[in-house]
């Protein structure tokens, strides 16, 4: 079955990827950094979207998994001299293990209680880890090795692409159908044979694994790790904002949201004390005016809606 969540025709996708491959050749540090931020945001938005947009489990603690992934890979690099990309993988696995450890008790909670439990996890870990001298305390720590910017660019691009393809594949799979059913009505999904807890845990673990990888790669590309900034609530808020702006529960939405946020965030950097306030206001405005995000608004245009229908009918 063709997924009806696909937004870009195949040819456009190939051309886009090809053009993105050329960006480092421009030798513009600004362009490279801009796109690296975009890839990081896409990874975070897609991974959170899998859990919140598809399975309906709103977490406010995505920063916990970004932070723990970064911490694990920083420790490996600093004290064991592990190869950079092995440490990234371990960072992802650490985030996955943390998700597995908290998932059963957290999923006893629903709705806002689940959201606040994840928020609490991020804050608790931030307090505990910021007291650890091995991670540089509150001042952060420099990592011994700075990897090539171009290589870092391609790795982040691949991660964003793999995350997007993963979410796209899940959206058109039986697992995806199960997740959406859980989002829609948990009791009915369970009564129709969906192992709700198992599916939620699987989505949560995958989502956190990807967030952990993103955190690890980010710390590696900065050659720096700081508990306070990696566990900062703004990571979670930015992630929620991107998905809400773009369109929750779609594959294209988080990409659109990430592009908008990278522009927005660059502009908001001139207002360091106001950027969280402005993002909060934008979130409220989007929730009120366009609850289905940019994608939802685009689908109100008849020609785009009929194009989507054509894709849907290719079964």
């Amino acid at each position: 079955m063709k997924s009806h969540y696909r937004l870009l025709p195949d040819a456009t996708l190939v051309i886009t990827i090809f053009l993105l491959l050329l960006i480092p050749l421009l030798k513009s540090p600004y362009a490279t950094t801009w796109f690296m931020t975009l890839f990081l945001y896409i990874t975070l938005a897609q991974s959170w979207n899998l859990m919140a947009g598809f399975a309906g489990q709103f977490s406010l603690g995505h920063s916990a998994f970004v932070g723990i992934g970064g911490a694990a890979s920083a420790l490996l690099l600093l004290y064991l001299g592990t190869a950079p990309y092995t440490s990234v993988l371990v960072g992802g696995v650490t985030a996955l293990a943390l998700a597995a450890a908290v998932s059963v008790p957290f999923f006893q909670l629903k709705g806002p209680y689940f959201a606040f439990s994840t928020l609490g996890l991020a804050e608790i870990l931030k307090v505990i880890l910021s007291a650890q001298s091995e991670l540089g305390g509150t001042g952060g720590i420099s990592l011994p090795l700075r990897i090539d910017a171009n290589l870092s660019y391609y790795v982040q691009m691949i991660l964003a692409l793999v995350t997007t393809v993963t979410v796209y594949k899940i959206a058109g799979s039986k697992f995806g159908v199960g997740l959406i059913a859980i989002r829609e009505d948990e009791d009915v999904a369970e009564a129709l044979g969906i192992p709700v807890l198992k599916f939620k845990i699987m989505a949560f673990m995958l989502s956190c694994f990807l967030a952990g990888l993103a955190g690890s790669i980010f710390s590696l590309s900065l050659s720096y790790y700081n508990v306070i900034s990696f566990f900062d609530l703004s990571w979670s808020l930015r992630t929620v904002l991107m998905v809400m702006i773009g369109g929750l529960g779609t594959v294209g939405g988080p990409i659109i949201g990430a592009i908008i946020l990278v522009f927005l965030y660059n502009w908001l950097l001139v207002l360091p004390y106001w950027n969280l306030v402005i993002m909060g206001v934008i979130l409220i405005v989007v929730a009120v005016i366009a609850p289905k995000g940019v994608i939802g608004e685009l689908l109100k245009i008849p020609i785009l809606r009929s194009a989507m229908r054509k894709i849907e009918k290719k079964i």
Binding site: V188, I194, P195, K313
Partner: protein, 237 residues
């Protein structure tokens, strides 16, 4: 042979006794109607059978195997499906995706094969033209048919239906009656909870009448409807 046995089940919600030492047997390949006034415990009975509620006392057996306390998804996979009242289709999902949910966690077939199976079920129910429509856009009757078809997708042995004739056009009601009878001929067993006495009489082989959490009458439909206790429970005379 009994496919379903509910034995001495009691369910309490605080001080309210929803099921009071209730026992019901369902024979294979039959359609059993469950009727009774509001608060009689009909929906609670279905919730206990499919695992949404755990009884305070008593047991449920399916094909001789005790299923009390199993989670709803496990009960579904051993062959018990159900519909809800009011209908609970997945509103934001298309008709096709709704049909795929019951097979999402079990079937080994590819999505394309499952989509074809869904289409043939929707054709049987005469709502195949709506396959790509979002369920929220369907009429009440169409939602009922969708829920019915969704309940049959996993090829269950026993289907529990909660008020399948509620609030739908007489013509659609008739279609629903015919579909249930046809599915029984294909080897399914049904337990149908309803207030719609004419439809229940037309559909069911046997009637179980409940009042205040107890079974007050049980037998062939035509006999039960003339039972004094039943008339009393329904009409209060």
């Amino acid at each position: 042979m009994s496919i379903l046995e509910v034995k001495n089940v009691t369910v309490r919600f605080g001080g309210v006794i929803a099921l009071d030492n209730c026992s019901v047997d369902v024979e294979e390949h039959t359609i059993v109607g469950v009727i009774g006034p509001n608060g009689a415990g009909k929906s609670t009975l279905l919730n206990v059978v499919n695992g949404l509620l755990k009884p305070n006392k008593g047991d449920v057996y399916f094909k001789g195997k005790r299923i009390t306390g199993l989670s709803p998804h496990k009960i579904f996979h051993i062959g018990i499906s159900r519909t809800f009242q009011p209908n609970r289709v997945f509103r934001e999902m298309t008709v096709l995706d709704n049909m795929l949910v019951p097979v999402a966690a079990s079937a080994h077939e590819e999505m394309s094969a499952l989509a074809k199976k869904s289409l043939s079920m929707l054709k049987f129910l005469e709502i195949d033209r709506l396959i790509h429509e979002h369920a929220m856009n369907l009429s009440g009757g169409q939602k009922m048919l969708l829920e019915f078809g969704r309940g049959l997708m996993s090829d269950p042995e026993l289907v529990l239906m909660d008020e399948p004739f509620c609030g739908i056009h007489p013509e659609l009601k008739q279609r629903m009656v015919e579909h249930i009878i046809m599915a029984r001929k294909r080897g399914k067993t049904f337990v149908v909870v309803s207030h719609d006495i004419p439809c229940i009489m037309e559909t069911c082989d046997r009637l179980v009448v409940m009042s205040l959490g107890r079974v007050i009458a049980d037998g062939p439909s035509d006999e039960v409807q003339n039972d004094k206790r039943v008339i009393e429970a329904y009409l209060g005379i």
